[in-house]
Structures are given as C-alpha cells and as structure tokens.
Amino acid sequence: MSTLITRRSLVTSAALGAGALLAGCDRVAEIPAARKILFSGEKLNMGLQRALSNRHSLAPEYRADQMSPFFRTNGTRNPNTPDYNAMVADRFASWRLKVGGLVARPLSISHAQLMAMPARTQITRHDCVEGWSAIGKWHGPMLGSVLKAAGVKDAARYIVFTCADLYSGANYYESIDLIDAFHPQTILAWGMNDRLLDVGHGAPVRLRLERQLGYKHAKYVMAIDAVASLAGIGLGKGGYWEDNVDYDWYAGI
C-alpha cells in the first residue's frame, strides 16, 4: 500500500467528513429529540448565569461621554396603526398603561402620571441579537415600583408586555420573570437621551431590561400583566420571536 494513496484517501475523507458534519447539523436539528437537546442549551445557560451571578447584579453603566453619537432604531420603527397615530397626534394624552392580571389592584396609568413617578436615569448599552450595540441614556420609573403599586399576587411568576406594534396582524408581546421584573435597572423608559422617547425608539414607553438582549426590550408598551404561566400567551413560549422564530426566551446571552 502506497503512503500517497493512504494520505490522499485520508485527506478526502477528512474533507468529506467536515462537509458532512456541516450538512448533518441541519438534519440533526430536524429530529425532535435532537432538537430538544439543542434547545436545552437555553435552560443550561440561564441556570449557569443565575448560579454565577447575584440576582441583583447590575449591568454596566457608562459616562455621558461614552454614549453612541447615533442610536439606530430596529424592529418596528413606527406602529403606524390608526389607534397609535391618534395617540401620537394627541401626544399620548389618551394613552393608558393597563396593569392587570394577577394583581391586587389593577391600574390604568396616564403618561403624565407615569412621568410624575420617581424615576431612574441610566446610561446603558443596548445589545442587539444581531451583534451591534449602542449606548444610550434612559429615564423612567422602575417596573418594580409600578408592580408594587398594583400588588403582584403570590401565584404570579411572569410579567407579560403587550405592545401597540403589530407583527403578522397581532400585537408584539414579550415576557420576563419576577427576578428581572424587580431588578433595579428594569425600568419603563419614557425618556431617552434627555428627551421624550421618540416614535422610532418606542414612544411613549419601552421596557429596559439591561441584562438581556434588545428583542426583550418591548417598545410601545400598552399593557402589563402578571401571569402564573406563559401557556396561554401567544403560542406559549413567552414572546413573538420566541413563538415564531425559535429565539431563546432567556436572552441573557
């Protein structure tokens, strides 16, 4: 047996093996059991991150001179529905934030009332799942203050956000657990970069969830509901992208 043939066949099989591995990954991802293992990484990573970090650990905050000169928009740039356009026209005077679900005191909060609440100002970095990031200044009350005012019941496990922008004809929605909901940097931002939040960035109010990726930061928030389970929300995975495109519900990574 010539060494050369052995070498050539080995190189060929290595190259074929590498190609088969790449192609095979797509086949594997179609098998339900393998898909389950593949998707188990989310729970593993969430468990590890929660184990490694204090639940109150803060996302880094930046100085004013470290802010992005231009903060791009993404996702919905304008909900552009008749209802939303009417609210923009009256400068959100008719907007009400409905806080309900498993709460002792359902609330209906006006823009002025929300802006009168004690607020937090934070200069933080926004990381998009696609890879870009931008640093901006956000201003608004802690979500925890609003939830405390409503009195979240013991049975509640998640907070669900329903938004004014439509995806495939239905309102955008996202959800977070109570650890993140009561985190001090989790705020309902009505101000950005020392101005009122503009339409492109989610006016009148967007969620800031500083330890997770951008798609969790629901824009154009209309309603906040405390729920015991995500089963009845959308397709049950807790958010529009999670339900429709397999994004992780836990976007801390």
Binding site: C25, S57, R72, Q212, W241
Partner: protein, 251 residues
C-alpha cells in the same frame, strides 16, 4: 504510565516498537473539540452574517466606524445552511458549553497526569536563535522527530499547542462570555479585560481566525508527518515512529 511504554502488540509491522503517545483524556478531548470547533465556526459565521461589521470600543453599530466589513460567509460554510440566526445561536450557545467545560476538563486532567509539564514545557535553550533555526531547517526537510527522543515535541509544535491551548482558546471563550449581557452584569471584569463589548466581538473574530490557521497548519503537518500513523495514534494512543529513510528506500 511512562512515555515509552512498550506495546504488547508485537504484530505491528515496522522496526521500532510503538510508543504510547496520547493518553485517553487527550484523545477524548481532541475528538470532542474537533467536532465542537466545526460547529462553533459554522454557527458563528451565521451569527456574523447577521451584522458583518466589526468595531473597537464599548459599542458599535451601523453609523459607527467599523475597522472591518467581513464578506458574507457562504451557505456551505454556515450552520444552519440557510440563514437562521435563532437556530445558529442554539448551536453556538450549547456547544460553547462543550468547548468551555471541555477545555477545563483537559487542562485539569493534563496538569494532574503531567501531560503539560512533560510534553509542553518549553526550555530556555529551545528558544535560542540557533535552535529555532535548526528546527526550522528540520521542518523544511520534513523531519519532525528527533530520532533519539521520538516522543518529544519539537519547539514549533510546542509553541503552536501552547499558543492555542493557553491563549487562543481562553481568548475565544472569555471574549465570547464578554458578549453576554448577563455575564457583563455577573462578571464586569470581562468587559474591562476586553476593552468593551465591541472590542470583545472583534477579539472573538480574530481568535477564530487564529484557530482556523492552527487547524490548517495542524492538518497539513499531520499529513506530512504520516497521516494514518498520526491519526491512529490519536484514536488508539499508540504511535509507531516513522522511519523516513526506510520509506524512501521502499519507494
């Protein structure tokens, strides 16, 4: 087990007796990592395709100055083949755990079984210009093994493995962790180490290129040094010392 354990298998052809070259922990880690690194590069390229621009500093988006606009990775290189960021992230973030904990397992076991101390320790005289030049000439002549110490790694081999195991792999793991907003809150020093999140993303990419370069050189040298004996030694652990002179006589 000592380096020059004699094989009980006397049926193997060849003049020199096979030597036990790779321990079980090394072999397991090698093949697990070989598969994992392909999955990480394939899925990583899909993730890069989502925003093929790289920046330095704390932040970076379309309007900021990018130091590199990468080409779009072709579908035959990416996992999944069709662009699907969500599924690429599932592959990447699950196998990141295999890569990270695998390296930890290999490092701890190699310290305990003295693989690192025995095979990768670089001695001062090996770094002398004269020795480096001698070894470069030996490489050019395709002589990779010292006949007197066939199991010893040569200096370029040691430098390549040490650089990959102790610099490139830790750099790609730490820069990957620095991309996670959750880990940024848990371990803020990651960002300080990398010089910001956009920098961490660039470091992640550059470390990937370094690992790709290592794989190319590694595979080329495995082929030049004797593809089948080298591959077999990473499967069974046993390696038969190549006899270049003899091979030329036979040809």
């Amino acid at each position: 087990m000592t380096d020059a354990t004699r094989s009980p298998d006397t049926n193997l052809p060849g003049t020199a007796a096979p030597i036990y070259r790779h321990r079980l922990t090394t072999r397991i880690w090698h093949w697990v990592s070989a598969i994992t690194i392909f999955i990480m590069i394939g899925s990583g390229l899909t993730i890069l395709n989502a925003h093929p621009h790289l920046y330095w500093g704390q932040f970076g988006a379309n309007n900021d100055h990018a130091w590199l606009h990468t080409w779009r990775a072709p579908s035959w290189l990416t996992i999944p083949a069709g662009y699907n960021l969500a599924v690429a992230r599932r592959w990447h973030l699950l196998f990141a755990l295999v890569l990270g904990f695998g390296l930890l397992f290999y490092m701890v076991s190699s310290l305990l079984n003295r693989h690192f101390q025995r095979d990768f320790r670089i001695r001062g005289r090996e770094l002398s210009a004269a020795h480096l030049w001698y070894d470069a000439k030996e490489h050019a002549a395709l002589r990779f093994h010292d006949p007197d110490q066939p199991n010893a790694r040569n200096i370029f081999q040691k430098l390549a493995y040490v650089l990959t195991i102790f610099a490139l792999l830790p750099a790609i793991i730490l820069s990957g962790l620095a991309l996670s907003p959750g880990m940024n809150a848990a371990w803020p020093w990651l960002l300080d180490l990398m010089g910001g999140r956009a920098s961490a993303r660039s470091v992640h990419f550059i470390a990937m290129l370094g690992i790709v370069l290592f794989i190319i050189v590694h595979l080329a040298l495995v082929i030049l040094a004797g593809a089948w004996p080298e591959t077999r030694s990473m499967i069974t652990g046993w390696w038969r010392i190549p006899d270049h002179d003899k091979r030329e006589d036979a040809a």
